[in-house]
């Protein structure tokens, strides 16, 4: 009985003060080199080719976790976020952490895991109305980049990269782990220029099905994330 009272008492204290949560913002900054991406407006220049503009940039971040000395110390519950360059509010995620948790790394997935992919209709950021679900073949699009470049000899010079696929051997979800220098707020840079410059846009400008190409490009897309110092 006394123990129960003590637990109850402690839990009240916990709720009140020492175990209070604090909030850490994680911002995803989509850039072209050092400039923030502006959809449609800006024309960017590729070193060897010519001009590039971005019309659509969306991707899923899931399974956000924090690590300390290689061990997970915090995992965000129900962690799925759709980052949409068109919706500024979507680019910052707020983590509510228990106080005094120490961490030196952040880890997350670029994309949606296979279990979620086969679990039927879901709401929120996973609602199939978000433009990130394939209709002709079930599965989430993990990463969507669309734009125009004069080197693309396609209709309206458009390029489309819809990267996804969850089934063996084309599972395209990518795990990303980044070292942190400061921990009160986290800014993650995703440099689109790094992605686009490594693609031969003349010959590869449409990838919209799961497969080898999507897998290679998913790995490339994961490589552009870094901690902004």
């Amino acid at each position: 009985m006394y123990r129960l009272l003590t637990v109850t008492f402690l839990s009240f204290i916990c709720a009140g003060d020492t175990c209070a949560q604090y909030v850490v913002p994680i911002q995803f900054r989509n850039t072209w080199n050092y400039q923030p991406i502006e959809l449609e407006k800006s024309i960017y220049h590729n070193q060897d080719t010519d001009s590039v503009s971005i019309t659509n940039l969306k991707y899923y971040i899931s399974g956000l976790a924090l690590l300390h000395n290689g061990h997970e110390v915090y995992a965000e519950p129900n962690s799925v976020h759709l980052i949409d360059a068109r919706i500024p509010k979507s680019t910052t995620i707020f983590l509510s952490l228990p106080k005094d948790v120490l961490y030196d790394k952040v880890s997350f997935n670029l994309g949606i895991d296979s279990v979620t992919n086969v679990s039927g209709a879901m709401g929120g950021d996973l609602d199939p109305t978000k433009g990130m679900y394939w209709t002709w073949q079930s599965g989430y699009i993990n990463y969507k980049l669309e734009g125009k470049s004069n080197v693309c000899k396609t209709r309206n010079n458009e390029f489309h990269f819809h990267l996804g696929g969850y089934g063996y051997p084309f599972g395209s979800i990518q795990k990303i782990v980044l070292n942190l220098e400061r921990t009160d707020s986290i800014t993650i840079k995703a440099d689109i220029a790094t992605f686009v410059k490594q693609i031969d846009l003349v010959n590869q400008n449409n990838v919209m099905i799961p497969g080898d190409d999507a897998l290679k490009l998913s790995r490339l897309a994961a490589s552009i994330f870094s901690i902004q110092k």
Binding site: S119, A121, D127, P128, T129, T135, Q137, S138
Partner: protein
């Protein structure tokens, strides 16, 4: 004290009211396997089923409001489109595959002839978006539902939320599709040893032949394993459809298509993924003398199936015992007049 009791009673009533939610139980027919569908994620309820049924019958799902689910999946013909080899869509467009008969979907694992769809909830997205079927998109369908005079209140009744979301839309259609169960054909009544019901000697011989030659793929009681098989059809060069390989990119899946259920087969003609056979006799002749051998042919068809003319007739007689009249004419599956007739015109 009395007041206190009253309060407790009041709280109990509220809890019961909230919990009750008019849940409808999904009945698994006797001796059937457990369904594949996870009902815990989408608990059946009569208002949700009714909403799904309304959506199933509503051409608002197509770009020009001419095509509904039932255009290709008509109840009286086992929820398929008889006499049409390939599916029809808006503006007279013709698809590349035969609309499949819909039945016992709670036991389905993958949907479509090539298994492109991994969950019943996600199935409607394909015909809604396909340019040769409904030619619309989920976003424009939802926009039209939000503006309609009947749907916001139907969504509210079903989900206690009038917001018309993709999740609720898809879950409601699933609810209706899940209730489409065929388990009361003569075959079922014989299996349940119902009084006064027995196979004729012809049907009994057909059943024996069926078990010997067909049942490994068309496994009872669902009459399918839901697997993908190459059943030895020649490639139709006007379609060049290689089936499941399109989804898996695996050469072993070339020319493999989903094994369809044989329930209500009497009414679901024409047969095969491209509707190439008009009659059951043609289907049987294919299996006895028409098999095309190729690297991915189902090993079960490697050796020829030999049947006499009489045996073929008996086999067909058995297949006709899979006709379930109660299913074909069940009012619970038909056009929900009460919704559309009472609604004011838009």
């Amino acid at each position: 004290m009395k007041k206190y009791l009253l309060l407790v009673f009041g709280v109990w009533i509220v809890i019961v009211a909230l919990k009750g939610d008019d849940e409808t139980k999904f009945r698994i027919p006797k001796n059937w396997p457990n369904p594949v569908y996870d009902f815990n994620k989408n608990r059946l309820n009569k208002d949700k089923i009714l909403l799904g049924r309304a959506l199933f019958y509503d051409p608002v799902l197509s770009a020009d409001s001419t095509i509904s689910c039932t255009s290709c999946h008509l109840q009286y013909t086992a929820f398929t489109h008889v006499d049409h080899t390939l599916s029809h869509g808006i503006n007279g467009k013709i698809g590349t595959r035969n609309a499949p008969a819909l039945t016992n979907m709670a036991w389905g694992k993958l949907f479509m002839w090539d298994g492109a769809i991994n969950h019943l909830d996600m199935q409607p997205l394909a015909p809604i978006s396909h340019p040769d079927e409904m030619g619309s998109s989920i976003d424009s369908v939802l926009l039209r539902l939000r503006r309609s005079s009947i749907y916001p209140s139907l969504f509210y009744r079903a989900f206690k939320d009038s917001a018309v979301t993709g999740e609720h839309f898809l879950k409601a259609i699933s609810q209706f599709m899940l209730t489409i169960v065929s388990s009361n054909a003569k075959y079922d009544q014989v299996m349940r040893n119902e009084k006064g019901i027995a196979f004729t000697s012809q049907e009994a011989n057909g059943y024996r032949l069926f078990r010997a030659h067909c049942a490994s793929c068309h496994k009872e009681p669902l009459f399918t394993t839901n697997d993908f098989r190459n059943n030895g059809l020649s490639v139709d060069t006007t379609l060049n459809d290689f089936g499941r390989i399109k989804i898996t990119h695996n050469p072993k899946d070339s020319l493999c298509f989903k094994v369809p259920s044989l329930r209500n087969i009497e009414f679901s003609y024409p047969y095969m993924h491209d509707g190439r056979f008009a009659t059951l006799q043609q289907v049987i002749n294919h299996y006895t003398t028409g098999i095309q051998h190729s690297a991915t042919l189902s090993p079960l068809l490697d050796k020829p199936i030999l049947l006499t003319a009489d045996e073929k007739v008996d086999l067909v007689a058995f297949m006709l015992t899979l006709t379930d009249k109660e299913f074909l004419f069940n009012r619970a599956y038909s056009f929900p007049k009460e919704i559309f007739m009472s609604a004011p015109k838009e």
